[in-house]
């Protein structure tokens, strides 16, 4: 197996970050990332994170699905866990963008793996990540972690991938690195 770094995105003061012009000459894709957003009003008052949306080829039609297990909390404060699943969504959405109510130093750790991204079948990916929030009203400090999968019901080769925060902008320190995986 050979891993080739294709590009690194750094995102600061922007609402979305995209890889474009992805070559189809690899077997799989892997993305390692880390994100934090500046949002501090409205919905963020009740949660210490923003949802990050992921789209392939800028497709906004209702052809995505996502399922992930999550756990948050500690033995001391109590653990909440469960399973979330959406079908026929217009994006893959995962809670991996800590906001201004989280620690400024806390960036999520994100990992995605997309097998056969240029093949002729529908596309799927593994997505997982975690972050720690000190959100006091939620009994913090609390870790939050997810492990799941997403899908794109489209047979086109993936040539672009976009990450966006549902509110606010990504702050300095946010980055995503794309790797091409060759199995031979």
């Amino acid at each position: 197996m050979t891993i080739t770094k294709l590009a690194t995105l750094t995102a600061s003061g922007v609402s979305s970050a995209s890889f474009s012009g992805i070559s189809g000459s690899y077997d799989d894709l892997k993305i390692l990332g880390s994100a934090h957003t500046d949002y501090s009003t409205g919905a963020a008052n009740t949660t210490p994170y923003q949802v990050m949306t992921i789209r392939f080829n800028s497709d906004s039609s209702s052809v995505y699905f996502v399922s992930y297990g999550y756990a948050t909390g500690t033995t001391a404060t109590g653990v909440t866990d469960g399973w979330t699943s959406y079908t026929y969504s217009q994006e893959i959405s995962v809670p991996l963008a800590p906001n201004a109510y989280s620690s400024q130093d806390d960036f999520s750790a994100i990992e995605m793996y997309i097998p056969a991204y240029s093949g002729s079948r529908q596309k799927k990916c593994r997505v997982q990540g975690s972050f720690m929030t000190p959100y006091a009203s939620a009994g913090g400090p609390n870790p939050l972690s997810i492990m799941g999968n997403g899908g794109w019901d489209n047979t086109s080769a993936i040539t672009s991938i976009t990450f966006a925060a549902n509110y606010g902008d990504f702050v300095a320190g946010t980055s995503f690195t794309l790797y091409g995986i060759s199995n031979s």
Binding site: L6, A7, T8, L9, T10, A11, G13, V14, S15, S16, A17, S18, F19, S20, G21, I22, S23, A43, T46, T47, V51, T53, S60, T80, G82, T84, Y86, S89, Q90, E91, S93, P95, A164, N166, Y167, D169, L178
Partner: protein, 72 residues
């Protein structure tokens, strides 16, 4: 005006550009969808927690210890 950043993997060049009106509207619609999903998840989690607390209290009334309840 909201901005977006794009890196072209074929060149490695990253550029920041303003989002179009259409992209802004799409983002706002996505935010509303995601917020609704988030509220649904939180309501479900709160209900699960309340149901668990209620169930635990009833088990305790039946004589189970905290350890026995936790071990279920």
């Amino acid at each position: 005006m909201p901005m977006k950043t794009i890196v072209d993997c074929s060149t490695g060049i990253q550029t920041n550009v303003e989002m179009t009106a259409e992209e802004i509207a799409d983002r706002e619609a996505a935010a509303e969808r995601v917020q609704a999903q988030q509220a649904e998840e939180e309501a479900a989690a709160e209900k699960r927690a309340a149901d668990k607390a209620s169930g635990d209290a009833k088990l305790k009334e039946l004589g189970l210890t905290d350890d026995e309840i936790a071990a279920r």
